[in-house]
Amino acid sequence: MALDDRKHSTTEERLATMTVPDVGCTAQARQSALGRLRAMGLPSRRDEYWKFTRPDTLVQSQAPEASIFADDEKPVFTDVDRLKIVFVDGVFDPALSDDLSLSGVEIDRLEDVCCTDDHWAEDLYGTLETKGQTPVERPLAALNTAFAGDGVTIRVTGKPTKPINLIYTHEDETSDVFLHHVVRVESGAEATILENGPAAARFNKCIEIDIADGGTLHHIRAQGRDHKRRAVTHLFAQLGRESVFKSFTLTANGVLTRNECVIELTGDDAVAHVAGACVGDGDFHHDDTVFVTHDAVNCESRQVFKKVLRNGATGVFQGKILVKAGAQKTDGYQISQSLLLDEDSQFLAKPELEIYADDVACSHGSTSGAIDEEGLFYLRARGVPKAIATDLLTLAFLAEAVEEIEDEALREEINGRLAGWLERRRG
């Protein structure tokens, strides 16, 4: 279908303000992404896929300003033994980062991906993003592939002893940042990638993850802190036979966050878990859009999303399990729940199943409601003040998502963050 005029002009207007950066050997992938983007156009609020989230501020040429968050709160993962890779407003900062050499993993900057030395990431850059454009278009991901100014490539060949931590700091109130990472987990290898930081006034991030047969990747990210930031992130993952991918996202604050997660299980017996816990207060709009495709036999997928909303915050969940014909013995599970702490907050959800195979067990659930009065009464009757009782119940509500994190220390770190967030807002 041809683009309507309005969409076409919005897209061209935006593109006119940008130049395709010359980073590494990605020119061809960038040109083809530009072609894809022109064909589909940037999203508009009339698009079905953007029914619940207005893309306007993500699409407009100028990034809306975002004040820098100043707080004495210690950044997340500070106490974890990790390899730090720091980006300041979207630019790699070697001074703040650790030495990139670590046994069992090869890390390069995107600009070091050169045609001459046959870099492994050359063929992967933009490939999973392209695949992820069907059946649903994700124009902002194509925009990222075309314009990403920086990023890293991570190739996991063994079992590195510590997690790799991508840290995004935000110092410029008008920064408009595109980052693109490429990750490959080789057969039998296993690693953990951590991400945190507010990144920019407007952040567009794309990460492509290719997990070979028997590979394992844990991905834990903490977005947020800055109240005014906007972010759209895309995670594209492709899973080989008997591979495992587990991803967890914590979001606190930010005016607008859209996390798209596109996972395709292409090898038999693969396992994919995606989870998210979000806590929002006031002018906060958080959107989790997940699309899991089962294209192999005997795979398992799990989506667990929990949202706590107050003071007029909005939580969105669009999740889908697509089971292709022949993907027999699929076990798919999806749950999205929201806890609305006051009358003004809202939860909008579209949990979908699309199934073309008969020997499958797929289920999804979605609930929304206020805090359990009986639970509250029970705690208060035992002398727990109302505010603390509410927090306890809130943490219990979020627990199912947080428990998706396998590593105990990291799980506790995230729980601590959530408790801290609730405590600061107790007032």
Binding site: A325, Q346, L353, C362, S368
Partner: protein, 511 residues
């Protein structure tokens, strides 16, 4: 265990399982049960849709001018509308100018003075549809039929035979209770004040492409008005049939339940076997006032096309109930086994405080059928309740989609919704999909949604087979069990038919 002969096996089956199901499966051959065609001379309006056709339809129904204008306005709006394409259904483009928008049996050209003049073939059609004997007698105009003892519960039938309401039975008894049950064309003539007040008030003229089309060209349908405080003395029923080739059937149903009243309405649909796909776009509007209750049950078994996906009815229906008063209650129950393409979302607007909406649905798609069906529950009033139970069954190459919306508005405090969508897959070539939209805009309301997808369990099949049932019987039994929650919500008359249909619809889906 000793070897049993077939009769003994049969007897054993009788003991253990629902005999209706087994019989239904056994009795029916490969063919569509209702696939006959009554050879009655039809009167057609020319093909295509123009303002003249709209005027003609209006004229044929002897409508007043305001109605003609209403239709023409709808026609103008229809021209500006686009056919929706968001449903998970795929069909060749419909040429709306290649349809007949009006057809009626010739024998109706001069209105029968008494039911004696009704074409006997028409009556035979009703007999095949299984209309109870007493109504047949009345339809046939047998003297004293009204005094004949009725078997079981009474059902008033308003049969729609290709666009024209043929005869309405039990008029007199209903009149005594003050209930108006007649064709919509009659209502337009006899009760214009009611029609003017309510028509288009639930489904606005320009609501959607098909509803707008219907507003322009609806040829007939049923009208029900239940006055305040009246409990309708019998179940009201309409049988729809599409008989003539290439005619679209566009009925319009308007049900008004005034304060404190109650009515149960049954709608049954069958259409004969045809090669060329036929179009059907109906609109049902229900107005439920304070403390009133309406039950609307549908069994739709229109011709679904053959096993290669050839032919079949395209069914694009807009059904909506508006609970205007406090404590109003509406219940939709549907068994959708027919049609090549189904596009249907019976909805409830829960405007009154403490109003209730319920939706129970079984959608069965076999061969190349495509069903995209579900409901909308719009909670506007305080303390409103809704419940959705949807059972989708796919077999063969069919695609079955549940699409629904539950919306809790900021003012709908303390409201509650429970949704359960289960899908059952039979065979590895079919698809089952769930597309629920959930919008919660206040925190005192609770919304729960659950959906599961599974196949007919091997253990259950083994259990049934081991007890001597063949594969189809076993599947029919399992499926009937799967649908039980919904079947129980149907009025008695329909429950039996529906149960049989469930089995018939899955004919040929296994083995």
């Amino acid at each position: 265990m000793a070897v049993l002969d077939e009769a003994q096996v049969r007897d054993q089956v009788k003991e253990g399982v629902d005999q209706e199901t087994v019989d239904a499966v056994r009795e029916v051959g490969g063919a569509y049960k209702y696939g006959w065609e009554t050879d009655i001379e039809m009167e057609y309006a020319p093909k295509g849709l123009t303002p003249d056709i709209v005027r003609l339809i209006s004229e044929k129904n002897e409508e007043p001018e305001w109605m003609t204008n209403w239709r023409l306005e709808a026609y103008e709006r229809w021209l500006t509308k686009e056919e929706p394409d968001w449903a998970m259904v795929d069909y060749p483009e419909i040429d709306f100018q290649d349809q007949y928008y009006y057809a009626r049996p010739k024998s109706m050209e001069v209105k029968p003075k008494s039911l004696d003049e009704v074409d006997p073939k028409l009556l035979a059609t009703y007999a095949k549809l299984g209309i109870p004997l007493k109504e047949q007698m009345i339809l046939a105009g047998v003297e004293g039929a009204e005094n004949a003892p009725a078997e079981g519960r009474k059902v008033a039938v308003d049969a729609v035979f290709d666009s024209v309401s043929v005869g309405t039975t039990f008029q007199k008894e209903l009149m005594q209770a003050g209930v108006i049950f007649c064709s919509i064309s009659e209502a337009i003539r006899e009760h214009p004040e009611l029609v003017k007040k309510y028509l288009g008030s639930v489904v606005p003229v320009s609501d959607n492409f098909y509803a707008t089309l219907n507003s322009a060209v609806f040829s007939d349908g049923s009208f029900v008005y239940v006055p305040p405080g009246v409990r309708c003395p019998m179940e009201l029923s309409t049988y729809f049939r599409i008989n003539a080739e290439n005619t679209g059937q566009f009925e319009r149903t308007l049900i008004i339940a005034d304060k404190g009243s109650y009515v149960s309405y049954l709608e049954g649909c069958t259409a004969p076997q045809r090669d060329i796909s036929q179009l059907h776009a109906a609109v049902v509007e229900i107005i439920v006032e304070e403390d009133a209750e309406v039950k609307y049950s549908t069994v739709q078994n229109w011709y679904p096309g053959d096993e290669n996906g050839k032919g079949g009815i395209y069914n694009f229906v807009t059904k909506r109930a508006d609970c205007r008063g406090d404590r109003a209650k509406v219940m939709w129950t549907q068994v959708e086994t027919g049609s090549a393409v189904t596009w249907k979302y019976p909805s409830c607007i829960l405007r009154g405080n403490e109003s209730q909406g319920e939706f129970y649905s079984i959608a069965i798609a076999n061969n190349y059928q495509q069903a995209d069906t579900g409901t909308k529950m719009i909670h506007l009033g305080k303390n409103t309740r809704s419940r959705i139970v949807s059972k989708g069954i796919s077999a063969g190459h069919a695609q079955n989609t549940y699409r629904g919306l539950v919306s809790m508005h900021p003012k709908a405090k303390d409201s509650r919704n429970y949704t359960q969508c289960d899908s059952l897959l039979i065979g590895d070539q079919c698809g089952a999909h769930t597309v629920p939209y959930i919008e919660v805009k206040n925190n005192s309301s609770r919304v729960e949604h659950e959906a599961t997808t599974s196949k007919v369990d091997d253990d259950q099949m083994f259990y049934c087979r081991q007890r001597g049932m063949d594969e189809e019987e076993a599947v029919a039994l399992v499926v009937n069990g799967f649908c039980k929650d919904v079947l129980q919500a149907l009025p008695m008359e329909f429950a039996m038919e529906a149960q049989q249909l469930v089995a018939i619809s899955l004919e040929g889906s296994v083995g």
